[in-house]
Protein backbone atom coordinates (compact mmCIF):
# COMPACT_ATOMS: atom_id res chain seq x y z
CA UNK A 1 0.00 0.00 0.00
CA UNK A 2 1.48 3.29 -1.01
CA UNK A 3 0.67 6.37 0.96
CA UNK A 4 -1.35 8.08 -1.70
CA UNK A 5 -2.37 11.69 -1.64
CA UNK A 6 -5.95 11.89 -0.56
CA UNK A 7 -6.81 15.24 -1.99
CA UNK A 8 -7.13 14.41 -5.65
CA UNK A 9 -10.62 15.93 -5.55
CA UNK A 10 -9.19 19.41 -5.13
CA UNK A 11 -6.71 19.29 -8.02
CA UNK A 12 -8.82 21.59 -10.14
CA UNK A 13 -8.06 24.66 -8.03
CA UNK A 14 -7.37 27.81 -9.95
CA UNK A 15 -3.58 28.24 -9.98
CA UNK A 16 -3.82 31.94 -10.74
CA UNK A 17 -6.11 32.58 -7.77
CA UNK A 18 -3.75 30.51 -5.63
CA UNK A 19 -0.82 32.71 -6.68
CA UNK A 20 -2.85 35.84 -5.94
CA UNK A 21 -3.61 34.44 -2.48
CA UNK A 22 0.10 33.83 -1.77
CA UNK A 23 1.16 37.30 -2.89
CA UNK A 24 -1.63 38.98 -0.91
CA UNK A 25 -0.53 37.16 2.25
CA UNK A 26 3.12 38.24 1.83
CA UNK A 27 2.09 41.79 0.96
CA UNK A 28 -0.11 42.06 4.05
CA UNK A 29 2.73 40.78 6.27
CA UNK A 30 5.23 43.23 4.77
CA UNK A 31 2.90 46.24 5.00
CA UNK A 32 1.68 45.48 8.53
CA UNK A 33 5.21 44.72 9.71
CA UNK A 34 6.85 47.80 8.23
CA UNK A 35 4.13 50.30 9.18
CA UNK A 36 2.06 49.25 12.18
CA UNK A 37 4.45 46.92 14.02
CA UNK A 38 7.77 48.59 13.20
CA UNK A 39 8.43 49.60 16.84
CA UNK A 40 7.33 46.29 18.34
CA UNK A 41 10.36 43.94 18.27
CA UNK A 42 8.40 41.10 19.85
CA UNK A 43 5.73 41.13 17.15
CA UNK A 44 8.39 41.50 14.45
CA UNK A 45 10.25 38.54 15.91
CA UNK A 46 7.08 36.43 15.71
CA UNK A 47 6.59 37.52 12.10
CA UNK A 48 10.21 36.54 11.35
CA UNK A 49 9.75 33.13 12.95
CA UNK A 50 6.50 32.60 11.04
CA UNK A 51 8.38 33.33 7.81
CA UNK A 52 10.93 30.64 8.70
CA UNK A 53 8.13 28.21 9.55
CA UNK A 54 6.46 29.11 6.27
CA UNK A 55 9.56 28.08 4.29
CA UNK A 56 9.89 24.85 6.26
CA UNK A 57 6.18 24.06 5.89
CA UNK A 58 6.29 24.72 2.15
CA UNK A 59 9.14 22.22 1.97
CA UNK A 60 7.04 19.67 3.86
CA UNK A 61 4.05 20.47 1.64
CA UNK A 62 6.07 19.69 -1.47
CA UNK A 63 6.65 16.05 -0.56
CA UNK A 64 3.33 15.57 1.25
CA UNK A 65 0.94 17.05 -1.28
CA UNK A 66 2.81 16.78 -4.59
CA UNK A 67 4.43 13.37 -4.09
CA UNK A 68 2.10 11.91 -1.47
CA UNK A 69 4.90 10.96 0.95
CA UNK A 70 5.07 12.26 4.49
CA UNK A 71 8.57 13.41 5.51
CA UNK A 72 8.73 13.13 9.30
CA UNK A 73 12.44 13.98 9.31
CA UNK A 74 11.80 17.51 8.06
CA UNK A 75 12.98 18.82 11.43
CA UNK A 76 16.28 16.96 11.01
CA UNK A 77 16.88 18.49 7.57
CA UNK A 78 16.09 21.84 9.17
CA UNK A 79 18.60 20.99 11.91
CA UNK A 80 21.29 20.13 9.34
CA UNK A 81 20.86 23.60 7.85
CA UNK A 82 20.92 25.28 11.26
CA UNK A 83 23.90 23.38 12.62
CA UNK A 84 25.89 23.80 9.40
CA UNK A 85 25.70 27.57 9.72
CA UNK A 86 26.48 27.47 13.44
CA UNK A 87 29.40 25.03 13.19
CA UNK A 88 30.85 26.73 10.11
CA UNK A 89 30.76 30.04 11.93
CA UNK A 90 31.86 28.96 15.40
CA UNK A 91 34.48 26.31 14.54
CA UNK A 92 35.77 27.19 11.08
CA UNK A 93 35.11 30.96 11.02
CA UNK A 94 33.29 30.75 7.71
CA UNK A 95 30.76 33.36 6.71
CA UNK A 96 26.98 32.79 6.88
CA UNK A 97 26.72 32.45 3.11
CA UNK A 98 29.31 29.64 2.95
CA UNK A 99 27.73 27.96 5.96
CA UNK A 100 24.33 28.32 4.38
CA UNK A 101 25.41 26.69 1.14
CA UNK A 102 27.05 23.84 3.07
CA UNK A 103 23.88 23.44 5.14
CA UNK A 104 21.57 23.31 2.14
CA UNK A 105 23.87 20.88 0.35
CA UNK A 106 24.06 18.70 3.47
CA UNK A 107 20.29 18.65 3.87
CA UNK A 108 19.88 17.88 0.16
CA UNK A 109 22.37 15.00 0.34
CA UNK A 110 20.69 13.56 3.44
CA UNK A 111 17.30 13.80 1.72
CA UNK A 112 18.83 12.15 -1.36
CA UNK A 113 20.24 9.20 0.58
CA UNK A 114 17.05 8.54 2.54
CA UNK A 115 14.77 8.91 -0.45
CA UNK A 116 16.90 6.81 -2.81
CA UNK A 117 16.81 3.96 -0.30
CA UNK A 118 13.14 4.23 0.60
CA UNK A 119 11.20 5.79 -2.25
CA UNK A 120 11.77 2.95 -4.69
CA UNK A 121 9.99 0.69 -2.21
CA UNK A 122 6.26 0.57 -1.87
CA UNK A 123 4.59 1.30 1.42
CA UNK A 124 5.20 3.74 4.20
CA UNK A 125 8.97 3.24 4.24
CA UNK A 126 9.68 6.88 3.56
CA UNK A 127 7.70 8.08 6.58
CA UNK A 128 9.32 5.40 8.74
CA UNK A 129 12.87 6.05 7.58
CA UNK A 130 12.55 9.80 7.95
CA UNK A 131 11.00 9.44 11.40
CA UNK A 132 14.02 7.38 12.40
CA UNK A 133 16.32 10.27 11.54
CA UNK A 134 15.04 12.11 14.63
CA UNK A 135 16.47 9.87 17.39
CA UNK A 136 19.66 9.29 15.36
CA UNK A 137 20.25 13.01 14.83
CA UNK A 138 19.46 13.77 18.46
CA UNK A 139 21.97 11.15 19.58
CA UNK A 140 24.62 12.62 17.29
CA UNK A 141 24.00 16.20 18.45
CA UNK A 142 24.03 15.32 22.13
CA UNK A 143 27.10 13.09 21.95
CA UNK A 144 29.34 14.97 19.52
CA UNK A 145 29.35 17.81 22.03
CA UNK A 146 32.82 19.06 21.12
CA UNK A 147 31.46 20.00 17.70
CA UNK A 148 27.75 20.64 18.30
CA UNK A 149 27.85 22.00 21.84
CA UNK A 150 25.81 19.03 23.11
CA UNK A 151 22.61 19.71 25.04
CA UNK A 152 23.66 23.28 25.82
CA UNK A 153 23.62 24.19 22.15
CA UNK A 154 25.97 26.27 20.09
CA UNK A 155 26.13 30.06 20.06
CA UNK A 156 28.69 32.77 19.31
CA UNK A 157 28.92 32.15 15.58
CA UNK A 158 27.92 35.72 14.78
CA UNK A 159 24.16 35.18 14.46
CA UNK A 160 21.28 36.99 16.08
CA UNK A 161 19.27 40.02 15.08
CA UNK A 162 22.10 42.42 15.95
CA UNK A 163 24.08 40.96 13.06
CA UNK A 164 23.38 42.22 9.53
CA UNK A 165 20.33 40.60 7.97
CA UNK A 166 20.82 38.56 4.80
CA UNK A 167 20.17 40.21 1.42
CA UNK A 168 19.72 43.75 2.78
CA UNK A 169 22.74 43.79 5.11
CA UNK A 170 21.25 45.97 7.88
CA UNK A 171 21.03 44.77 11.50
CA UNK A 172 17.88 44.99 13.58
CA UNK A 173 14.65 43.03 13.96
CA UNK A 174 12.78 45.02 11.30
CA UNK A 175 15.49 44.40 8.70
CA UNK A 176 15.51 40.70 9.61
CA UNK A 177 11.76 40.49 9.27
CA UNK A 178 11.86 42.09 5.82
CA UNK A 179 14.80 39.92 4.71
CA UNK A 180 13.14 36.72 5.89
CA UNK A 181 9.90 37.54 4.12
CA UNK A 182 11.76 38.40 0.91
CA UNK A 183 13.27 34.91 1.09
CA UNK A 184 9.87 33.46 1.93
CA UNK A 185 8.38 35.18 -1.10
CA UNK A 186 11.17 33.67 -3.19
CA UNK A 187 10.36 30.18 -1.90
CA UNK A 188 6.64 30.74 -2.50
CA UNK A 189 7.32 31.74 -6.10
CA UNK A 190 9.59 28.72 -6.58
CA UNK A 191 6.80 26.55 -5.17
CA UNK A 192 4.22 27.99 -7.58
CA UNK A 193 6.63 27.65 -10.48
CA UNK A 194 7.40 24.03 -9.55
CA UNK A 195 3.70 23.23 -9.64
CA UNK A 196 3.21 24.86 -13.00
CA UNK A 197 6.31 23.61 -14.82
CA UNK A 198 6.72 20.28 -16.57
CA UNK A 199 8.26 18.70 -13.48
CA UNK A 200 5.25 19.64 -11.34
CA UNK A 201 2.87 18.34 -13.98
CA UNK A 202 4.78 15.06 -13.95
CA UNK A 203 4.42 14.80 -10.17
CA UNK A 204 0.72 15.47 -10.58
CA UNK A 205 0.50 12.65 -13.10
CA UNK A 206 2.43 10.29 -10.83
CA UNK A 207 0.13 11.06 -7.92
CA UNK A 208 -2.94 10.32 -9.98
CA UNK A 209 -1.68 7.16 -11.63
CA UNK A 210 1.92 6.04 -11.08
CA UNK A 211 1.48 2.90 -13.20
CA UNK A 212 0.24 4.86 -16.19
CA UNK A 213 3.08 7.36 -15.83
CA UNK A 214 5.67 4.57 -15.67
CA UNK A 215 4.14 2.91 -18.72
CA UNK A 216 4.87 6.07 -20.70
CA UNK A 217 8.55 5.36 -20.18
CA UNK A 218 9.29 7.69 -17.26
CA UNK A 219 11.10 6.68 -14.09
CA UNK A 220 8.69 7.40 -11.26
CA UNK A 221 11.35 7.11 -8.55
CA UNK A 222 13.58 9.74 -10.17
CA UNK A 223 10.79 12.30 -10.02
CA UNK A 224 9.93 11.46 -6.42
CA UNK A 225 13.58 11.61 -5.33
CA UNK A 226 14.07 14.94 -7.10
CA UNK A 227 11.08 16.39 -5.27
CA UNK A 228 12.40 15.08 -1.94
CA UNK A 229 15.82 16.64 -2.61
CA UNK A 230 14.29 20.02 -3.51
CA UNK A 231 12.21 19.81 -0.35
CA UNK A 232 15.32 18.94 1.68
CA UNK A 233 17.22 21.89 0.25
CA UNK A 234 14.43 24.28 1.20
CA UNK A 235 14.28 22.78 4.71
CA UNK A 236 18.04 23.37 4.95
CA UNK A 237 17.50 26.98 3.87
CA UNK A 238 14.90 27.43 6.61
CA UNK A 239 17.41 26.00 9.08
CA UNK A 240 20.12 28.41 7.88
CA UNK A 241 17.89 31.42 8.40
CA UNK A 242 16.71 30.13 11.77
CA UNK A 243 20.27 29.70 13.06
CA UNK A 244 21.34 33.15 11.83
CA UNK A 245 18.22 34.80 13.22
CA UNK A 246 18.30 33.15 16.64
CA UNK A 247 22.05 33.23 17.25
CA UNK A 248 21.80 29.92 19.13
CA UNK A 249 20.98 26.38 18.02
CA UNK A 250 20.33 23.40 20.28
CA UNK A 251 19.09 19.83 19.95
CA UNK A 252 15.57 20.92 20.86
CA UNK A 253 15.09 22.49 17.40
CA UNK A 254 14.75 19.12 15.70
CA UNK A 255 12.32 17.61 18.19
CA UNK A 256 8.66 16.71 18.16
CA UNK A 257 7.25 20.22 18.83
CA UNK A 258 8.70 21.56 15.56
CA UNK A 259 7.42 18.56 13.59
CA UNK A 260 3.96 18.85 15.13
CA UNK A 261 3.89 22.57 14.39
CA UNK A 262 4.71 22.28 10.70
CA UNK A 263 2.34 19.35 10.24
CA UNK A 264 -0.58 21.29 11.70
CA UNK A 265 0.44 24.26 9.52
CA UNK A 266 0.37 22.18 6.35
CA UNK A 267 -2.87 20.37 7.20
CA UNK A 268 -4.76 23.43 8.43
CA UNK A 269 -3.54 25.73 5.69
CA UNK A 270 -4.30 23.32 2.90
CA UNK A 271 -1.53 21.15 1.58
CA UNK A 272 -2.33 22.02 -2.05
CA UNK A 273 -2.37 25.77 -1.48
CA UNK A 274 1.00 27.49 -0.80
CA UNK A 275 -0.73 30.72 0.27
CA UNK A 276 -2.84 28.82 2.77
CA UNK A 277 0.27 27.20 4.23
CA UNK A 278 1.95 30.59 4.61
CA UNK A 279 -1.14 32.14 6.23
CA UNK A 280 -1.44 29.15 8.57
CA UNK A 281 2.20 29.43 9.59
CA UNK A 282 1.56 33.05 10.68
CA UNK A 283 -1.55 32.12 12.64
CA UNK A 284 -0.02 29.01 14.24
CA UNK A 285 3.07 30.99 15.29
CA UNK A 286 1.32 34.06 16.62
CA UNK A 287 -1.97 32.93 18.15
CA UNK A 288 -0.49 30.63 20.86
CA UNK A 289 1.87 33.45 21.92
CA UNK A 290 -1.03 35.74 22.73
CA UNK A 291 -3.49 33.07 23.83
CA UNK A 292 -1.93 32.53 27.23
CA UNK A 293 -4.74 30.18 28.16
CA UNK A 294 -3.04 27.53 26.04
CA UNK A 295 0.18 27.92 28.01
CA UNK A 296 1.88 24.56 28.35
CA UNK A 297 -0.98 22.87 26.57
CA UNK A 298 0.11 24.25 23.22
CA UNK A 299 1.33 20.97 21.78
CA UNK A 300 -1.68 19.18 23.23
CA UNK A 301 -3.94 21.70 21.49
CA UNK A 302 -2.04 21.15 18.22
CA UNK A 303 -2.73 17.42 18.47
CA UNK A 304 -6.44 18.00 19.06
CA UNK A 305 -6.54 20.56 16.25
CA UNK A 306 -4.83 18.09 13.90
CA UNK A 307 -7.39 15.36 14.62
CA UNK A 308 -10.30 17.79 14.26
CA UNK A 309 -8.97 19.24 11.00
CA UNK A 310 -8.42 15.79 9.48
CA UNK A 311 -11.95 14.84 10.46
CA UNK A 312 -13.84 17.85 9.24
CA UNK A 313 -11.64 19.52 6.64
CA UNK A 314 -8.78 17.26 5.51
CA UNK A 315 -7.91 19.61 2.63
CA UNK A 316 -7.49 22.56 4.98
CA UNK A 317 -8.85 26.05 4.78
CA UNK A 318 -6.73 27.18 1.81
CA UNK A 319 -8.93 25.76 -0.98
CA UNK A 320 -11.94 27.76 0.25
CA UNK A 321 -9.98 31.00 0.06
CA UNK A 322 -8.66 30.14 -3.40
CA UNK A 323 -12.17 29.31 -4.63
CA UNK A 324 -13.43 32.60 -3.19
CA UNK A 325 -10.66 34.54 -4.95
CA UNK A 326 -11.38 32.66 -8.15
CA UNK A 327 -15.08 33.51 -7.90
CA UNK A 328 -14.38 37.19 -7.22
CA UNK A 329 -11.99 37.49 -10.13
CA UNK A 330 -13.96 35.15 -12.39
CA UNK A 331 -14.73 35.92 -15.99
CA UNK A 332 -11.41 37.50 -16.84
CA UNK A 333 -10.40 34.41 -18.77
CA UNK A 334 -11.40 30.83 -19.24
CA UNK A 335 -8.84 28.06 -19.38
CA UNK A 336 -9.38 24.49 -20.45
CA UNK A 337 -9.65 22.02 -17.58
CA UNK A 338 -6.43 20.15 -18.32
CA UNK A 339 -4.14 23.16 -17.80
CA UNK A 340 -5.21 23.63 -14.21
Amino acid sequence: MAISAQNSASTSLDERASLVFSIVVVAVVMIVGVTWLRDDPYALRLLSLSGIFAILSLALRLTYAEVGELNLGQGVLFGVGAYAVAIAGAKFHLGPLTGGVIGMAGAAILALIVSVITLRLTGAFFAVATLGLVPVATAIIVNADDVTGGVLGLGNYGGGVSSPAPIIGIPGQLAWMVAIWILTLGVILIDHWLRACRFGQSLNAIRQDPMLFASLGFNVTTYKVTAAVISGTLAGLAGNIFALHEGLVSASVIGLPLLATIIIIVVAGGSRVPGGVVAASIIVTIVPEYARILGDYRLFAFGIALIVMLKFSPDGVGPWVVQWIARVTAGSRKRPEWTR
Binding site: M1, A2, I3, S4, A5, Q6, Y64, G68, E69, L70, I117, T118, R120, L121, G123, A124, F125, A127, V128, A129, L131, G132, L133, V134, P135, V136, T138, A139, I140, V142, N143, L256, A260, I263, V267, D296, Y297, L299, F300, F302, G303, I304, L306, I307, L310, K311, P314
Partner: protein, 289 residues
Protein backbone atom coordinates in the same frame (compact mmCIF):
# COMPACT_ATOMS: atom_id res chain seq x y z
CA UNK B 1 35.55 -9.75 27.78
CA UNK B 2 33.71 -12.91 26.85
CA UNK B 3 31.66 -12.51 30.04
CA UNK B 4 30.52 -9.02 29.07
CA UNK B 5 29.69 -10.33 25.61
CA UNK B 6 27.49 -13.06 27.07
CA UNK B 7 26.04 -10.52 29.49
CA UNK B 8 24.99 -8.22 26.65
CA UNK B 9 23.53 -11.08 24.61
CA UNK B 10 21.44 -12.10 27.61
CA UNK B 11 20.40 -8.50 28.27
CA UNK B 12 19.43 -8.28 24.62
CA UNK B 13 17.40 -11.47 24.74
CA UNK B 14 15.57 -10.27 27.84
CA UNK B 15 14.87 -6.90 26.21
CA UNK B 16 13.80 -8.86 23.13
CA UNK B 17 10.75 -10.10 25.01
CA UNK B 18 9.63 -6.49 25.45
CA UNK B 19 10.40 -5.65 21.82
CA UNK B 20 8.61 -8.82 20.78
CA UNK B 21 5.41 -7.62 22.45
CA UNK B 22 5.73 -4.18 20.88
CA UNK B 23 6.50 -5.58 17.44
CA UNK B 24 3.84 -8.30 17.47
CA UNK B 25 1.24 -5.80 18.68
CA UNK B 26 2.17 -3.42 15.89
CA UNK B 27 2.08 -6.22 13.31
CA UNK B 28 -1.40 -7.30 14.46
CA UNK B 29 -2.67 -3.72 14.35
CA UNK B 30 -1.16 -3.05 10.95
CA UNK B 31 -2.09 -6.41 9.49
CA UNK B 32 -5.79 -5.78 9.94
CA UNK B 33 -6.38 -2.05 9.88
CA UNK B 34 -3.58 -1.40 7.33
CA UNK B 35 -2.79 1.84 9.10
CA UNK B 36 0.65 2.52 10.54
CA UNK B 37 -0.25 3.47 14.07
CA UNK B 38 1.92 6.27 15.39
CA UNK B 39 0.22 6.07 18.76
CA UNK B 40 1.65 2.58 19.34
CA UNK B 41 4.57 3.95 21.36
CA UNK B 42 2.13 6.19 23.22
CA UNK B 43 0.18 3.10 24.30
CA UNK B 44 3.47 1.61 25.50
CA UNK B 45 4.01 4.70 27.65
CA UNK B 46 0.42 4.55 28.92
CA UNK B 47 1.21 1.06 30.24
CA UNK B 48 4.29 2.36 32.06
CA UNK B 49 2.47 5.28 33.65
CA UNK B 50 -0.45 3.00 34.49
CA UNK B 51 1.82 0.88 36.68
CA UNK B 52 3.31 3.99 38.26
CA UNK B 53 -0.12 5.49 39.00
CA UNK B 54 -1.46 2.28 40.54
CA UNK B 55 1.63 1.92 42.72
CA UNK B 56 2.09 5.55 43.68
CA UNK B 57 -1.45 6.93 43.96
CA UNK B 58 -3.50 3.85 44.76
CA UNK B 59 -0.86 2.15 46.87
CA UNK B 60 -1.23 -1.23 45.21
CA UNK B 61 1.62 -3.74 45.57
CA UNK B 62 4.03 -3.69 42.63
CA UNK B 63 3.05 -7.13 41.37
CA UNK B 64 -0.64 -6.21 41.17
CA UNK B 65 0.22 -2.83 39.63
CA UNK B 66 2.19 -4.70 36.96
CA UNK B 67 -0.75 -6.98 36.26
CA UNK B 68 -3.33 -4.18 36.05
CA UNK B 69 -1.25 -1.31 34.66
CA UNK B 70 -1.54 -2.36 31.05
CA UNK B 71 -5.35 -2.31 31.30
CA UNK B 72 -5.19 1.50 31.22
CA UNK B 73 -4.35 1.12 27.54
CA UNK B 74 -7.78 -0.31 26.71
CA UNK B 75 -9.84 2.93 26.97
CA UNK B 76 -7.16 4.84 25.08
CA UNK B 77 -7.15 2.21 22.34
CA UNK B 78 -10.97 2.18 22.10
CA UNK B 79 -11.19 5.95 21.76
CA UNK B 80 -8.26 6.10 19.31
CA UNK B 81 -9.87 3.43 17.17
CA UNK B 82 -13.14 5.28 16.83
CA UNK B 83 -11.55 8.72 16.40
CA UNK B 84 -8.52 8.20 14.17
CA UNK B 85 -8.56 4.65 12.74
CA UNK B 86 -12.11 3.76 11.79
CA UNK B 87 -13.03 6.96 9.90
CA UNK B 88 -10.06 6.54 7.55
CA UNK B 89 -9.58 3.41 5.51
CA UNK B 90 -6.24 2.22 4.15
CA UNK B 91 -6.94 4.12 0.93
CA UNK B 92 -6.61 7.36 2.90
CA UNK B 93 -3.03 6.47 3.82
CA UNK B 94 -1.41 9.72 4.83
CA UNK B 95 -4.56 11.15 6.43
CA UNK B 96 -4.83 8.13 8.70
CA UNK B 97 -1.10 8.32 9.40
CA UNK B 98 -1.45 11.95 10.45
CA UNK B 99 -4.52 11.12 12.54
CA UNK B 100 -2.58 8.58 14.60
CA UNK B 101 0.27 11.10 14.81
CA UNK B 102 -2.21 13.58 16.34
CA UNK B 103 -3.43 10.90 18.74
CA UNK B 104 0.16 10.17 19.78
CA UNK B 105 0.79 13.85 20.50
CA UNK B 106 -2.41 14.19 22.51
CA UNK B 107 -1.70 11.10 24.62
CA UNK B 108 2.00 11.83 25.20
CA UNK B 109 1.44 15.52 25.92
CA UNK B 110 -1.48 14.70 28.20
CA UNK B 111 0.69 12.30 30.21
CA UNK B 112 3.47 14.87 30.24
CA UNK B 113 1.08 17.44 31.78
CA UNK B 114 -0.40 15.00 34.32
CA UNK B 115 2.81 13.37 35.53
CA UNK B 116 5.29 16.19 34.92
CA UNK B 117 8.33 16.18 32.71
CA UNK B 118 10.87 14.40 34.91
CA UNK B 119 11.68 10.72 34.57
CA UNK B 120 9.95 8.49 37.12
CA UNK B 121 11.58 5.43 38.66
CA UNK B 122 9.80 2.51 40.33
CA UNK B 123 11.38 0.57 43.17
CA UNK B 124 12.45 -2.99 42.44
CA UNK B 125 9.79 -5.64 42.48
CA UNK B 126 12.02 -8.23 44.17
CA UNK B 127 14.51 -7.42 46.90
CA UNK B 128 16.51 -10.57 46.26
CA UNK B 129 20.02 -10.21 44.86
CA UNK B 130 20.80 -10.77 41.20
CA UNK B 131 20.96 -14.23 39.76
CA UNK B 132 24.50 -15.19 38.80
CA UNK B 133 24.41 -17.33 35.68
CA UNK B 134 28.15 -17.53 35.09
CA UNK B 135 31.07 -15.76 36.61
CA UNK B 136 30.46 -12.04 35.95
CA UNK B 137 27.19 -12.69 34.15
CA UNK B 138 24.23 -11.47 36.19
CA UNK B 139 20.52 -11.09 35.65
CA UNK B 140 18.34 -9.20 38.09
CA UNK B 141 15.23 -10.92 39.34
CA UNK B 142 13.05 -8.12 37.97
CA UNK B 143 14.60 -8.46 34.53
CA UNK B 144 13.97 -12.19 34.45
CA UNK B 145 10.43 -11.88 35.80
CA UNK B 146 9.42 -9.18 33.31
CA UNK B 147 10.87 -11.18 30.42
CA UNK B 148 9.10 -14.31 31.67
CA UNK B 149 5.71 -12.59 31.88
CA UNK B 150 6.25 -10.91 28.51
CA UNK B 151 7.02 -14.21 26.83
CA UNK B 152 3.98 -15.85 28.45
CA UNK B 153 1.66 -13.06 27.23
CA UNK B 154 3.28 -13.16 23.80
CA UNK B 155 2.97 -16.94 23.65
CA UNK B 156 -0.69 -16.92 24.65
CA UNK B 157 -1.46 -14.20 22.09
CA UNK B 158 0.32 -15.99 19.24
CA UNK B 159 -1.17 -19.35 20.22
CA UNK B 160 -4.69 -17.93 20.28
CA UNK B 161 -4.07 -16.34 16.88
CA UNK B 162 -3.13 -19.76 15.56
CA UNK B 163 -5.49 -22.13 17.25
CA UNK B 164 -8.71 -20.35 18.15
CA UNK B 165 -11.58 -19.59 15.81
CA UNK B 166 -11.29 -15.86 16.41
CA UNK B 167 -7.56 -16.01 15.72
CA UNK B 168 -8.10 -17.93 12.48
CA UNK B 169 -10.65 -15.37 11.30
CA UNK B 170 -8.26 -12.56 12.22
CA UNK B 171 -5.51 -14.16 10.16
CA UNK B 172 -7.93 -14.69 7.29
CA UNK B 173 -8.64 -10.96 7.24
CA UNK B 174 -4.90 -10.22 7.28
CA UNK B 175 -4.37 -12.46 4.26
CA UNK B 176 -7.28 -11.14 2.23
CA UNK B 177 -10.06 -8.91 3.55
CA UNK B 178 -12.17 -9.53 0.44
CA UNK B 179 -11.94 -13.30 0.57
CA UNK B 180 -12.69 -13.23 4.29
CA UNK B 181 -15.85 -11.26 3.62
CA UNK B 182 -16.83 -13.72 0.89
CA UNK B 183 -16.86 -16.57 3.38
CA UNK B 184 -19.01 -14.56 5.75
CA UNK B 185 -16.61 -12.85 8.14
CA UNK B 186 -17.67 -9.34 9.05
CA UNK B 187 -14.30 -7.57 9.35
CA UNK B 188 -15.52 -4.65 11.46
CA UNK B 189 -15.51 -6.23 14.97
CA UNK B 190 -12.21 -7.94 14.15
CA UNK B 191 -10.62 -4.61 13.21
CA UNK B 192 -11.57 -3.20 16.60
CA UNK B 193 -10.46 -6.37 18.37
CA UNK B 194 -7.10 -6.48 16.63
CA UNK B 195 -6.45 -2.81 17.27
CA UNK B 196 -7.25 -3.10 20.96
CA UNK B 197 -5.31 -6.36 21.30
CA UNK B 198 -2.25 -5.01 19.49
CA UNK B 199 -2.31 -1.82 21.54
CA UNK B 200 -2.72 -3.77 24.75
CA UNK B 201 0.39 -5.84 23.93
CA UNK B 202 2.33 -2.56 23.68
CA UNK B 203 0.86 -1.60 27.06
CA UNK B 204 2.02 -4.89 28.61
CA UNK B 205 5.51 -4.23 27.26
CA UNK B 206 5.42 -0.72 28.71
CA UNK B 207 4.21 -1.98 32.07
CA UNK B 208 7.10 -4.43 32.15
CA UNK B 209 9.78 -2.00 31.11
CA UNK B 210 8.57 0.42 33.81
CA UNK B 211 10.43 -1.80 36.30
CA UNK B 212 13.67 -1.86 34.31
CA UNK B 213 14.07 1.67 32.95
CA UNK B 214 12.98 5.18 33.91
CA UNK B 215 9.45 6.09 32.82
CA UNK B 216 9.13 9.11 30.54
CA UNK B 217 7.10 10.27 27.58
CA UNK B 218 10.28 10.32 25.50
CA UNK B 219 9.97 6.54 25.20
CA UNK B 220 6.86 7.04 23.10
CA UNK B 221 8.39 7.96 19.76
CA UNK B 222 11.36 5.68 20.29
CA UNK B 223 9.10 2.68 20.80
CA UNK B 224 6.96 3.63 17.81
CA UNK B 225 10.12 3.67 15.78
CA UNK B 226 11.34 0.34 17.17
CA UNK B 227 7.95 -1.14 16.26
CA UNK B 228 8.21 0.32 12.77
CA UNK B 229 11.66 -1.14 12.24
CA UNK B 230 10.60 -4.56 13.47
CA UNK B 231 7.52 -4.69 11.29
CA UNK B 232 9.21 -3.25 8.21
CA UNK B 233 12.05 -5.76 8.47
CA UNK B 234 9.75 -8.69 9.14
CA UNK B 235 7.59 -7.81 6.15
CA UNK B 236 4.45 -5.78 6.81
CA UNK B 237 1.81 -7.89 8.51
CA UNK B 238 4.05 -10.85 9.35
CA UNK B 239 3.41 -11.44 13.05
CA UNK B 240 5.66 -14.44 13.69
CA UNK B 241 8.52 -12.84 11.78
CA UNK B 242 8.09 -9.70 13.87
CA UNK B 243 8.85 -11.62 17.04
CA UNK B 244 12.06 -13.12 15.61
CA UNK B 245 13.22 -9.72 14.32
CA UNK B 246 12.40 -8.16 17.69
CA UNK B 247 14.79 -10.49 19.49
CA UNK B 248 17.49 -9.98 16.85
CA UNK B 249 17.10 -6.22 17.04
CA UNK B 250 17.31 -6.18 20.84
CA UNK B 251 20.48 -8.28 20.81
CA UNK B 252 22.05 -6.06 18.15
CA UNK B 253 21.16 -2.99 20.18
CA UNK B 254 22.64 -4.48 23.35
CA UNK B 255 25.83 -5.51 21.55
CA UNK B 256 26.20 -2.11 19.91
CA UNK B 257 26.16 -0.50 23.35
CA UNK B 258 29.05 -2.79 24.29
CA UNK B 259 31.32 -2.29 21.30
CA UNK B 260 30.45 1.28 20.33
CA UNK B 261 29.43 4.08 22.67
CA UNK B 262 26.31 3.35 24.69
CA UNK B 263 24.40 6.23 23.15
CA UNK B 264 24.98 4.89 19.66
CA UNK B 265 22.69 1.99 20.50
CA UNK B 266 19.81 4.39 19.85
CA UNK B 267 20.91 4.61 16.24
CA UNK B 268 21.53 0.86 15.89
CA UNK B 269 17.96 -0.09 14.87
CA UNK B 270 18.05 2.59 12.22
CA UNK B 271 21.34 1.51 10.70
CA UNK B 272 20.20 -2.10 10.85
CA UNK B 273 17.02 -1.23 9.00
CA UNK B 274 18.84 0.77 6.32
CA UNK B 275 21.33 -2.05 5.75
CA UNK B 276 18.60 -4.66 5.43
CA UNK B 277 16.48 -2.50 3.13
CA UNK B 278 19.44 -1.99 0.82
CA UNK B 279 20.02 -5.74 0.55
CA UNK B 280 16.47 -7.04 0.88
CA UNK B 281 13.99 -4.31 -0.05
CA UNK B 282 10.93 -6.39 0.82
CA UNK B 283 12.04 -7.27 4.34
CA UNK B 284 13.61 -10.41 5.73
CA UNK B 285 10.46 -12.51 5.65
CA UNK B 286 8.54 -11.07 2.71
CA UNK B 287 4.85 -11.91 2.61
CA UNK B 288 3.32 -12.98 -0.65
CA UNK B 289 0.84 -10.10 -0.73
Amino acid sequence: MIASLIQQVINGLLLGATYGLVGAGFAITYGISRVLNFAHGAFFVVGSYGVFALFNYFGLPLGIAFALGSLFVLPFAFVSYYVVIKPYGPDKGSTALLGTFGAAIVILEGLHRVFGGRLLVLPRMFDSPTITLLQDVHVSFDQAFVAFISIIVLGISLASLHWTGIGRRLRAIVQSPEAAQLIGIDPEPYRLLSFVLGSWLAGVAGAGLAFLAPIGTGNGLNMTFVAFVIVVLAGLGNIGGAVIIAFALAVIQALSSLYVRAEVSLAAPYLFMVLVLVVKPRGIFPTRA
